[in-house]
Structure formats: structure tokens, C-alpha cells
Amino acid sequence: MSAHNYLEVKKLNVSFPTEDGLVAATSDLTFSLARGETLAIVGESGSGKSVSSLAIMGLHNRARTNISGEVILNLPTGSLELLSSSEDTVRDLRGKEMAMIFQDPMSSLHPYFSVGAQIAEAWLLHNKGNKSDGLKRAIEMLELVGIPLPVERVHDFPHQFSGGMRQRVMIAMALVNNPSLLIADEPTTALDVTVQAQILKLLRDMQKEFNMAIILITHDLGVVAEFADRVNVMYAGKNVEEAPVHDLYYKPAHPYTLGLLRSIPRVDQIDTHRLQTIPGQPPSLINLPMGCAFAPRCPYKELVPNNLCTTKNPELSNFADNHLTRCHLTHDQIESVR
């Protein structure tokens, strides 16, 4: 994509040395994102989606993580590469330019402080003002995210809120400084579906209001279909496919995406046939297989000559306009197996 991109991630590699060996959590991750746009990162547990977002936010443990690549924020004042910036620089940006919300709103809020104090703290870190200005700002935010009676509830503690309301508080806290980038890591996974619908609607409204870029990390392909503009599918630490949301669902180009889409039942269709499955299970990130990490589970690897799939790692390449895939199959082969 072009220069109007707000965030550019280039060849991001994140790995952790452990007793059992080097865990390659994310390798060779490249994507970019404009303001007002939503990119979904989809993958199963251990596919590297959360690790990548923590690295973008600078929340990884610098002493215990090997990290390389570039994370570039294009700010009005000029471009800034985050991985090589000092911790102080990143800390100034975090909470102001970029913010994050997590899956479990109970464990991400401090149980000993009122929600108002916690939202005010996030504001006071980046703005000049006293406590009562902070509280005033907290009330405005609570009202914006749809908490009834914000003037009274600003003094309540996290345990006095339901799960959905707590997630609203988290969103209020994340947005208090009007950030340009919001990373939402499984924001609705812990919530019931009726509450999930409310929170997704809120996020969409907030995106319009603040013209934010959103990275939505999720495993739920239904949520992606509803919410995302573009999708990045990850498997075993690599992005195996990136496409606009329509192309990904109607013209998937990677056998893993194809398998995922076929294996989920739907509420709008009654099916009585067996579910299609992807055989086997994801590989260990310590002992990644030779060649393509998906090859051991891929039903189409025989179509590629010379055992290429089990010997050579495919590069991310153009499948169509704005549509990338990491697969040795030719364009025609993919169309024929789809």
C-alpha cells in the first residue's frame, strides 16, 4: 500500500530463547494499515498473533526476546521506527498514539482502584491537568462508551461492573487520549454473543468518531466477516494469506484458509453432513517442519512437484491485486481446488 499508511510492519521476527530451544513465535510478518481501516489478524492459539501485537506496542520483555524487523509509525511530525527507538519514546506514544484492549477485562483492570481513577490516570499521563480534570474526562469517556449514569458510576470499582460493562470501561481507557491506532486482542472472546454484538457496534462507532486504525486479533471468522476491511491469516508464526475481506471469504488462496472456512458450522444453514476437517494439529514452534509449516496437514501438497512443499519455505507472493499468499501451488491449481 502507499504512503498514506499509518502503520507499517516490515519483516517482523520475534523469538524467545527457552530451555527447550528457540521458540519462533512470529517470523517474517509484513503488513501495513491506514487510519480508519480495520485489519483482522486471524489464527489459532500459538500462531503468533498476540506476540506480534505486543511487539508492535513495545510491550515485550526486551531482555528475553529476540526481535528484528521494522515497525514504522507515520506520524504528522514524521516517520518513527519503534523497535530501534528508546523505551521512553515508545512509552510516550503508548496510550496516546496507540492503545490496546485485551481479552479479559477483569484481569486488565486494577481491582483496588475505581474505574474513574484508572481512566483519569491514563489521561493525566499524557495531558496537563489535575485530578478533577482527569475525573471529568473519565466521565465524558464513560458516557461516550455507553455506561449508564456515568457521574455516579465513575467512582465504582471493576467488580461492580458486568463483563460487557468492564470491556466498555477498557475501551474508554484505551481511547481517552484519542489514539490513532487501537489493537484489540480478542476483545469479545470472553463475552456472550448478545454482549459481543454491543461491543463490536461500539468499536465501529468509536472508529468512525476518532478515525482510528484498528488491528483486530481474533480466532472467530464470523467476527472478522462482520468487522474487518482486510484480513491477515497467520499459521505457525507466519502470515500465510492477506486479502480484502471479500476476497478472503469468496476467493481464498491458501489451503489453510480454505480448510478453516470449510470446517466451521453456521447458524444460518442447517447442515447434516460431516464437518470437513483439517487433519493433524499445528506444529511446535520450536521444531518447525522443513519447508512450508502447513505442509504436514495440507491435502494438496502432492500437486506440487519435487516435494517442494516439504523442502522449501514458500515466499509471500501476489495471488491477485492486494491479495497475497504464501503457497507453492500455482494460481490455476488454487482455483481448481477451491
Partner: protein, 326 residues
């Protein structure tokens, strides 16, 4: 075929909690408040609802892990409501459970062989060909390598652990398995494998399932009949196709419309009902219809009189004064 394996009649389970050591006030949480439910032989009944609706309590009360407050539980033609733990022991060999979390439901210090074999030990059963042979057959049946009998739970992935849990439940050849969120902790690609395994085992062994879940798309796939619960009460009960294609209760309709469909074109163009508010506290349920506080059709009648669950067409029951469609 249509012999009931399990019948619940007006089952209630109320939890009483005191508001502090010195307080005389007691709060009653009506987790399950008078439900009727039948599971026939060879049938899968899906029990769905949001967290706090009482679906897990139903499963646990049937197994008598909780003492029912009132009502009756008839399993395999026998009234087990007031059975003592000693009387329950032989019943439990026919009535097994699969749990949600494959990490905490297997003892980390026991090999999977001894975890599965303990079912035989506890019930004093000597399977043909010996316990080891029987366990290996079970492992093979659920898609695990029989040679891994001496491994420990931590050596397996989440999906494999859930298969171990299934093997354990199958060991005594039960009639009914209560599966409480058996696939919700699993990744999408693994979920489909376990759902298919449950399907195959049912055909092979004539099992019945009470499938408790919040994920409506999985319930749609696996169930013959579906029961929707809200705040301890049944809102609607119908054949799967009926319930999903033509929901009659407003709550069912709202629940279905809230589940995102993995198809951008359909998802972005469909009518969506976003319910306001949260589930009320089961300790302080609304008067009249329990759904009335969030229902867009609620009238004064709904706030005052609780609608009974009535049959509105064959096999289809709904508890609503103003049901949807027809």
C-alpha cells in the same frame, strides 16, 4: 428409538447464600427454576444460553453433583432424584460427563492409561481381554495412538486431551453423556475433528448426548433438538431446523441474530437485533417474563405474568405471550 433416556420434570436447583457471616439475610439464586426436558435414546439435545442461564447447573444436577431442590430426575426408567451417593454409583456408569477444560479435568500426575482404567477399577468391572487391552482399544477408537498409554496429560495438545476425556467417558459404555462445552476451549480446526468424533461414536454406540454449549453454530450442527434457556427457565424448545430457521421466541431470535456469520456479504446485509443491557442477576430476576427487561416486544402483561412453556406446533414449545412468526 424414541424411548426416553433422561426425563426432567419441573427440576429446580436453588442456591442459598448468606450475605455475610453475621447477616440474617439470605439470598436465593434460582439457577434452575422449574424445567422439563427429555432426551431420547440415540438423540442429541442441545442446551444453549448465555453465561449464568443455568445450563451447566442442569448438567451437574442431573449427575447429582448438586442435590436438586425439587422436581424429579428419571434416568433410564428409574427415578434417581433422591438417590444417595452409594445408590448413584452404579447409575454413574451409564451416565457420564465430558468437561469443558481438557487441562484441569485430567489429573496431571496420572498416566492417561491409569486415568481411563480408573473407571473400570471404581466400578469393579473386568473388561474382556484385560484392562490394558480395553484402554488401548478406547484410545484407538478416539483417534489416539494406543502406544501412548503410559504418557502423561501434559504431553498432549488440547484437542488430544479432549479425546482422552471422551475415552474416559466411553469406558463403561454409557447410555447418556452430558457434554458441557466440550469443544469451546479448542481451536477451530481441532473443534471440527472432535465434533465429528462425537457424531461417529453416537452412530456406532447408540449414545445419547445432552450437549451444553453457548456456541450456537456447533449446536446447530450436532443437535437433533435444541432447548434455549434464559435465567433458569426454558424459553423455547424445538427441532434444530425449526429453531434455527424459524425461531419463535424473541430471545432466540435475538441470540441467533447476534451470532456473526462467516460470510461478509450475508453478515453485512442482514437484519440485526442488538439487545440492550446485560443478563439480570439470577438472585433478583425480573417479575413476570424473565426476558421482559431486554425484550423489544414487552408489554405490561409481560412484566407481570410469566408466560408458561406451551406447545405451539408439534415438538415445538415456546414461553412467550407474543411469539414471533409462525
Amino acid at each position: 428409538m424414541n424411548q426416553p433416556v433422561l426425563e426432567l420434570k419441573n427440576l429446580k436447583k436453588h442456591f442459598i447464600s448468606s450475605n455475610g457471616v453475621f447477616s440474617r439475610n439470605k439470598t436465593t439464586v434460582k439457577a434452575v427454576d422449574g424445567i422439563d426436558l427429555t432426551v431420547n435414546s440415540g438423540e442429541t439435545v442441545g442446551l444453549v444460553g448465555e453465561s449464568g442461564c443455568g445450563k451447566t447447573t442442569v448438567g451437574r444436577t442431573v449427575l447429582k453433583l448438586y442435590e436438586p431442590t425439587s422436581g424429579s430426575i428419571i434416568f433410564d426408567g428409574e427415578e434417581i432424584t433422591n438417590f444417595s451417593p452409594r445408590q448413584m454409583k452404579p447409575v454413574r456408569s451409564k451416565l457420564q460427563m465430558i468437561f469443558q477444560d481438557p487441562y484441569s479435568s485430567l489429573n496431571p500426575r496420572h498416566t492417561i492409561g491409569s486415568i481411563i482404567a480408573s473407571s473400570y477399577e471404581i466400578h469393579g468391572i473386568h473388561p474382556e481381554g484385560g484392562v490394558k487391552k480395553a484402554v488401548q482399544n478406547l484410545l484407538d477408537r478416539v483417534g489416539l495412538n494406543p502406544e501412548h498409554i503410559n504418557r502423561f496429560p501434559h504431553e498432549f495438545s488440547g484437542g488430544q486431551r479432549q479425546r482422552i476425556g471422551i475415552a474416559r467417558a466411553l469406558a463403561l459404555r454409557p447410555k447418556l453423556i452430558i457434554a458441557d462445552e466440550p469443544v469451546s476451549a479448542l481451536d477451530v480446526s481441532i473443534q471440527a475433528q472432535v465434533v465429528n468424533l462425537l457424531d461417529d461414536l453416537q452412530k456406532e454406540m447408540g449414545l445419547s448426548y445432552l450437549f451444553i454449549a453457548h456456541d450456537l453454530s456447533v449446536v446447530q450442527h450436532i443437535s437433533d433438538r435444541v432447548i434455549v434457556m434464559y435465567l433458569g427457565k426454558i424459553m423455547e424448545e424445538a427441532k434444530t431446523s425449526q429453531l434455527f430457521l424459524n425461531p419463535r421466541h424473541p430471545y432466540t431470535k435475538a441470540l441467533l441474530s447476534a451470532v456473526p456469520i462467516p460470510d461478509p456479504e450475508i453478515e453485512r446485509n442482514r437484519e440485526r437485533i442488538v439487545l440492550s443491557g446485560d443478563l439480570p442477576s439470577p438472585a433478583n430476576p425480573p417479575s413476570g417474563c424473565v426476558f421482559s427487561t431486554r425484550c423489544w416486544k414487552a408489554t405490561e402483561k409481560c412484566h407481570q405474568i410469566a408466560p408458561p412453556l406451551v406447545e405451539i406446533s408439534i415438538g415445538s414449545k415456546v414461553a412467550c405471550h407474543f411469539p414471533e412468526g409462525n
